[in-house]
């Protein structure tokens, strides 16, 4: 079951910094002084969020780039976004 609103926008939390290095992504969470690493698919998703795409649009972008079906792409995106929200790395915007 999908728990993330497909029309929602997200952005990097103001207390976090994100950058891509060798295809992978790094979040520095300033409040906690902690770091999260996301794999290349995760980095791609975060970059799409930064381009102001909705979740629905991000899912489309994933299917186009990685040639996977929409249900799988949606599940991957939801899972990552839930984890990043819980960590304080991104916020709804």
């Amino acid at each position: 079951m999908n728990t993330i609103d497909p029309n929602q926008h997200y952005r990097v939390d103001p207390h976090a910094r994100f950058r891509v290095l060798d295809g992978e992504g790094i979040f520095v969470l300033q409040k906690a002084g902690e770091v999260l690493v996301v794999n290349p698919v995760g980095a791609f998703i975060v970059e799409q969020l930064g381009a102001r795409l909705t979740i629905d649009e991000v899912v489309t972008a994933i299917t186009e780039r990685y040639a996977i079906d929409r249900a799988r792409a949606r599940a991957d995106a939801d899972s990552l976004i839930e984890a990043l929200l819980e960590a304080g790395a991104i916020e709804a915007s």
């Binding site: 207390h15 910094r17 290095l21 060798d22 520095v28 300033q30 002084g33 902690e34 770091v35 999260l36």
Partner: protein, 288 residues
């Protein structure tokens, strides 16, 4: 009121406003760093006394660890801990320390503040202060970054059995040198290490993360993981919104030149054979 000047990593810190008992306590802990006042100073720490203990973080009962609180403002860094609060000016690092303590609690408070201050000073000089263990065999320096529970003290205990020179099992600094990167001991040791002498940094031969495993070995890791390990290990500055970006840049530079590998180790001294073999001493180009 008394004044005391401490020198560490080519920076002189002048403490003013000390009560005589505070001066003695600081001297007892950091006396190896004391310098004649006539030498001048780079950073001033003014100690201001407050009779009201309620304005500070209260003392804890029992052998518990606590974390100081650090807040980041555009022009200052605010530090609070048991029995003290302090304001550090970002530009000059001039510090005002308010305290109600003049016994052992004072020197603990000062040490906590000094860690922050030294971290900022060294960062401004291009260095990275890292939660890490570090030791040397006299020629090669090895640094193992990792936060609490990573195995730093365990590894230092094992290195101690091998009679390796332990810099610290808590905080060490990596600084750029003419030859590459150097390893600087810090005056803040945990269970191992000692007050650093004013010697040049050791060459940084090995930059490693730690993982306790079934057998000793070295594991490669991506530069992304390496950078994340470095950034996560740098206290204070990695939570400072004004320094996170340059910190990450610096970690990218460091790991681009000194690849970080992960040492898998067991609770015995066999890890040293792996390190000694992998990081061979440089051989002379020509020998007769």
């Amino acid at each position: 009121m008394s004044t005391l000047t401490l020198e560490f990593a080519q920076c002189r810190y002048r403490l003013t406003g000390l009560l005589p008992e505070q001066e003695e306590l600081v001297r007892a802990r950091f006396g190896a760093l004391e310098r004649a006042e006539a030498c001048g100073h780079d950073v001033e720490v003014e100690v201001l006394h407050s009779a009201d203990p309620h304005r500070f973080m209260p003392k804890l009962v029992g052998p518990v660890e606590y974390r100081i609180s650090v807040a980041y403002e555009p022009s200052t860094v605010l530090v609070e801990g048991i029995g003290f609060s302090a304001t550090i000016d970002r530009a000059s690092l001039r510090t005002h320390m308010h305290t109600c303590e003049s016994d052992e609690w004072f020197v603990d408070a000062f040490e906590n503040l000094f860690r922050v201050l030294v971290s900022y000073r060294l960062f401004a000089e291009g260095a990275l202060v890292m939660h890490s263990a570090a030791f040397s065999d006299g020629e090669r320096g090895f640094l193992f970054c990792g936060r609490s529970g990573a195995g730093k003290s365990t590894l230092c205990g094992l290195a101690d059995q091998l009679q390796l020179q332990i810099l610290s099992d808590e905080l060490n600094a990596v600084m750029a040198t003419a030859e590459g990167f150097g390893l600087q001991a810090m005056p803040f040791a945990g269970d191992f290490g000692q007050m650093p002498m004013p010697t040049p940094p050791l060459p940084l031969t090995g930059l490693l993360g730690l993982r306790q495993g079934a057998r000793p070995g070295l594991l490669a890791c991506s530069q992304t993981e390496a950078v994340s390990r470095i950034v996560a290990s740098c206290p204070y500055v990695n939570a400072d919104p004004m320094l996170v970006e340059p910190l990450t840049d610096r970690a990218v530079q460091l790991t681009g030149r000194v690849p970080l590998r992960v040492l898998s180790f067991t609770k015995d001294t066999t890890f040293w054979k792996v390190l000694d073999r992998e990081y061979n001493r440089p051989q002379p180009a020509l020998s007769r």
